[in-house]
């Protein structure tokens, strides 16, 4: 049980940290590789995420989020830090990373968890243009100006889509009480 796994880490059980690599490694790698588009940088991020997980396990609150969301939140913080620390445009994209991003691996347990299924259901409820902007920003790490250029729409429109998409998700997650 992943909740128990995080509790064990919070208690200082290093074996639980090892187990977490098997439980969450694919998830973190999936987030990082797509975002960084560079295998070496993605590896660095993964390493930092598990260190952060070890450090921050005690902050986990079962009633507030699933373990998957908790891990993804930690990973996103690291990815945003990574993005901030470098000029993303023009960053090298390795052949290996390009292939890795394009090709899914065999079925991964984390991808069929209840939390992930719930997340997919939420995203399916978004308006297409909101979803597209969130996809490019959250998943691919593109800035709003980059997305505006890619989609050929004004910057303000991109910002609006991102914000409205997030508000739509919030409304959906609390049962429509935005």
């Amino acid at each position: 049980m992943n909740v128990e796994l995080i509790r064990r880490m919070a208690a200082g059980d290093a074996l639980a940290l090892e187990t977490s690599i098997d439980e969450f490694g694919g998830l973190v790698w999936s987030l990082a590789l797509r975002f960084c588009r560079n295998r070496a940088d993605a590896e660095d991020v993964v390493q930092q995420v598990f260190l952060d997980l070890w450090r921050g396990a005690g902050s986990y609150r079962e009633e507030l989020s699933s373990p998957e969301t908790f891990v993804a939140t930690i990973a996103r913080r690291r990815l945003i830090d990574w993005r901030r620390s470098r000029q993303r445009r023009g960053a090298p994209v390795s052949l290996e990373a390009a292939f890795d991003v394009a090709a899914p691996d065999a079925e991964q347990a984390w991808a069929s968890s209840d939390e992930v299924r719930r997340a997919i259901g939420l995203m399916q409820g978004l308006r297409a243009e909101h979803r597209r902007v969130l996809e490019l920003s959250l998943r691919d790490g593109l800035s709003y100006p980059e997305i505006a250029e890619m989609l050929g729409v004004p910057l303000g429109t991109v910002k609006s889509h991102a914000r409205r998409g997030m508000m739509e998700l919030r409304a959906a997650m609390v049962g429509g009480a935005a």
Partner: protein, 298 residues
Amino acid sequence: MSRAHDPLHERIDELLIDRAVLGIDEAAERELHQLDPRGATEAAHEFEAIAATAHLAFAAERPKALPREMRERLLAGIRGNAASRATVQSRAPAAWDAEAAIVNRPPIRIVSSRADFDEAPPTRLGGFFATLGWAVAAAAVLVLAFTTTSLNAPTSRGGGGGIAVAPIVGPVEQRQQLIDGAADVVVTHWSATPDSTIAGISGDVVWSQSRQAGYLRIAGVPANTPTEAQYQLWIVDPIRDPKHPIDGGVFDIAATGETIVPIDAKLRIDGPTLFALTLEKPGGVVVSGGPLLAVAKL
């Protein structure tokens, strides 16, 4: 007035959303602090969780497994420096007392904000990770990866020949001699990339680290016109430089059927993880500009 229709809170939400999606710059952080000196912690965490939830959904569209070699590197870091009691008992004495590391681990704090999280004092494990020579660990693990790959590919190993005088042989025989004679030969098979124009590719790559030699065996790839374009092999070697694959030579496919090509690496290969095939201008290029057609992963 509800929060949704309050311009102040709308602006705070905008900033919090932007921060959760991609981070915000210092000016926006200052604006956020001025608008809400208390930090809007609850809403900040809420938007962070929403962003994480959406990211989960996107990642699940093309789920990846943690590469084995990376898993081993991570585990090696943990086991070598902050191993569990059980692990320590089954291993030779570590460089420092792993059990003491756990005892001395700083108490876990309740993290109430991003700043708290980031300012958490480093653990000894953290210190290890921070100072770990990534390449050193990678080298050690890749040795293991090669060993494992060899053991998992028994069909690639012949019984050994006992050739007294080496005759002049072609690529087919040279490839077989490498397989039979090198103890560290690894074999990996070609896969077309999702958007490849050579979906029917088959064959393999054999490589010997000790001999710095290997061969491609390729079938199902259309013939090229050498004056217009040539196939080029690339070797990804993360130990050397993961961002710049090594040129493995150019070659032509003259006819249908099987083609065997010796690998012509322009640099020493220390730890290949992937061979990639592209189509480039005649003579090949220094930095690939052609489409990625196929890969063979180790």
